[in-house]
Symmetry: D2
Subunit: 262 residues, 4 copies
């Protein structure tokens, strides 16, 4: 075979199989999105379309990789949780990280025009990094997701205050930052309410809780009869929720989805 | 800090630094591109626009990551060679693999309309996988690149025969495959010439050699004077070549670029 | 500092931390012990002193590394199970594997004369290899230990038959091997009983079950009073058991030690 | 097969092959040897027998692992350099690290009585840790060895001063430490000469340079004729040198052994 003379370089491709029996969390994260969001005039503190675009990209990832049991997104990051016993691509780390990051990126760019609107053309190519983290138990995965959701809340509260001070309070960014330094949650809620009449608790759940994506069996309209009656069928589809995933008591998300990570 | 209760999950993020002093080759590869190319009516055996789109995406990667010294592409794959002493992102494997794969994907999708033409809309989201391979010496990197270029030639010769038999010879794919099974280079060249009047050696270098991308200092027209005279400036830009990178004698690519990997 | 010129080589020492939250099993295994046991006239199929020496070496390892919760040994191998949350040596793989293998080897050689007897001097240096395997759950650790204990039984049954045929049955090793090829447990038990009058079930548990080592709180005689009365004190000491660690029902090992791996 | 029910645990044993084409340095290091050397009355600053014992253990390692091209030892550490193309044990990291550490330990304990003398019995089991470090080029391996030899010199100079102050100068360890803090080489040489009449340069090379071990072809007396004439034969044997391995000019070690690492 003509190729063989150089084939010896293949032996440098080492195995990078991830430990079996552990949940695999793949987290993708926007590279330089502070600059990217300014360049593309993202609304502050939250650009609903930009968040929806993240959700669309995430949903496409779940459709392509059925072993993903749940995903969680906020701001410019998304985490995908693969079942602990998944065997796709031999659990090779680079393969999984690169494919999921690439799939997310591809859909983000492809759906940009229809979600962001034709008047907000892409001026540069958005890129994401990705990493794989292993969690040996269901409880640790829930702690991981809680960690990201607490982070969502903290960031959103801070950003809501910051942009209120800048946009409505006529502060410079530096002044706003100074005013918020070291302040606790109560101070920020009070500031929003007293100075800007904003009740933090009534802000959209999407901003406070981030996006939870799971595959759900739902009735979907698949066509119309000639007489205009919608024909429904059950389909399993990625569904975006903005619910609490920290609490575990009766009625809470995990109590309602006890087998999601089993 | 409100976040601390769950921060313990961070310790599961382990280090994946790549060995210093080794060249890092990151190879991205289209996922399911046989199906993807059929869905999007790629010309066979080679779709020039599809190849140009790969080159555009690769050039964008080189602009973003200056430590890439050379890249090589063919078909739906591209390899990027980072200098052995690069320190970007602490040489973390997942970071480098995911960022370069994401950057490539993002540009591939973003440039699709202008390179492929508005009439060939994307019908699904193209994704790529990526991997990192380390090579401890310059010689091994050259062997790696030779391996890919020999592969380009072998694949192109096979595909040229296969599609000639199918498109002009009225063979079914199965018949074409059968006719070529186990045949050597000479047989294929003879078949192309005698049956289809194709001289393999005169086919475009782009198909036979693949694409070599390097940063080159070139004169670029940066603006026009009021009187319409072009103003040139030297710029370092990614440049695509379709040259041999296997030979090392005087006049050959490596002899002309002795310091490229130093 | 005079040393600094060459200190750059330190950056090639990469991190090899083992995933947190997983049990770490370190298994040491004699290198070339078939030859080693022949050279030192080990009794066949089981040399009690050689097994006791393995146990002594294992006990010394447990004393030095309190995070080892249980160890299991048979023939020339020993497995040490570290608690899933151990933080010793930053969970660095090479460090743990090399230290435990070295500690085992050191004690094996040091205790050799007193356990094997002065007349069986060491004729070469016994060496062991070691490896680390991670198990994400308690159940998997128990499966691992069951795997080794089942293996003990299978090997012992085979070896008991093999050596009975050779030592008492005047077969050559090749003939003995041939006679046993593919035979099941029942056949072997029958062979032992009918040809050699050996009831497999009454053979020592040490041979059939291997050695389980755990730290146990026991009364130990620490000194004698002047009048010759032994003074006892409770001490936690490594204890060797030859019990079943596969069964989980009431009264079995795991039921009696429910918190051993917690 | 009776064993199969638990065999699934084997899939948790992951591959840890070391990158091909790189020199593998395995460094073993005494654990807690400050305490160990005090317990066994090592002479200070250097115990010749203890150093010889280290050398004996290292020589035994070289005999067992022919792919080791050179070893370097000082104090309670020894580094073994395997050729970059070695394929032993599939270059598995744990296997190599554990086997070489175990072999070193085993020989250290086994040879203890004859090297240290029967009157200095082992009071505890000496253990060593081990690690593998990869170096992609010959030059880096030489830098690594230079790093260890420079370290030998610095430590020896410091220890010679420290123990002279304590043993002959009647200083407490704390006073000696204080006097030497931050001092340079010149100061230490001057202190040795003026206060204790010690010319550092005339101290044994063994202390200043450490031990270099290489396989050398030498004439060895293999037996005596009946008339008492020694019969020599050429044998390749591990040989301990106390020479400089930093300099590279004509006549120096590397100039005399140009192919040692090729």
């Amino acid at each position: 075979m003509a190729n063989s003379k150089y084939e010896h370089v293949r032996k440098y491709e080492l195995d990078d199989e991830l430990l079996p029996g552990c949940y695999i969390v793949i987290r993708v994260d926007g590279k330089g999105f502070t600059k990217f969001s300014t360049l593309h005039n993202f609304e502050k503190p939250n650009d609903i379309n930009a968040l929806l675009l993240m959700d669309e990209a995430a949903k496409a990832v779940l459709v392509d990789y059925p072993d993903i049991r749940i995903a969680f997104g906020q701001s410019d990051e998304y985490s995908f949780v693969l079942h602990k016993n998944t065997a796709i691509y031999g659990r090779r780390s680079s393969k999984l990280v690169s494919l999921i990051t690439s799939c997310f990126t591809s859909n983000y760019v492809r759906f940009w025009p229809q979600v962001m609107g034709e008047d907000r053309a892409l001026k540069c190519s958005p890129t994401f990094d990705g990493r794989a983290v292993l969690y040996p138990s269901e409880e640790l995965v829930k702690d991981y997701l809680s960690w990201r959701q607490v982070d969502t809340h903290i960031n959103n509260q801070y950003n809501t205050c910051f942009w209120a001070l800048v946009q409505q309070g006529n502060k410079t960014p530096a002044q706003a930052q100074e005013e918020l330094r070291g302040s606790d949650a109560e101070f920020k809620n009070e500031l929003l309410y007293s100075q800007f009449g904003i009740n933090y608790n009534t802000l959209p759940e999407q901003f406070k809780k981030g996006s939870v994506v799971v595959m759900q069996r739902r009735k979907v309209v698949v066509k119309m009869t000639e007489s205009g009656v919608p024909v429904e069928r059950e389909k399993t589809e990625p569904t975006v929720l903005h619910c609490d995933i920290i609490r575990t008591e009766a009625g809470a998300f995990w109590a309602q989805n006890p087998d999601l990570l089993k």
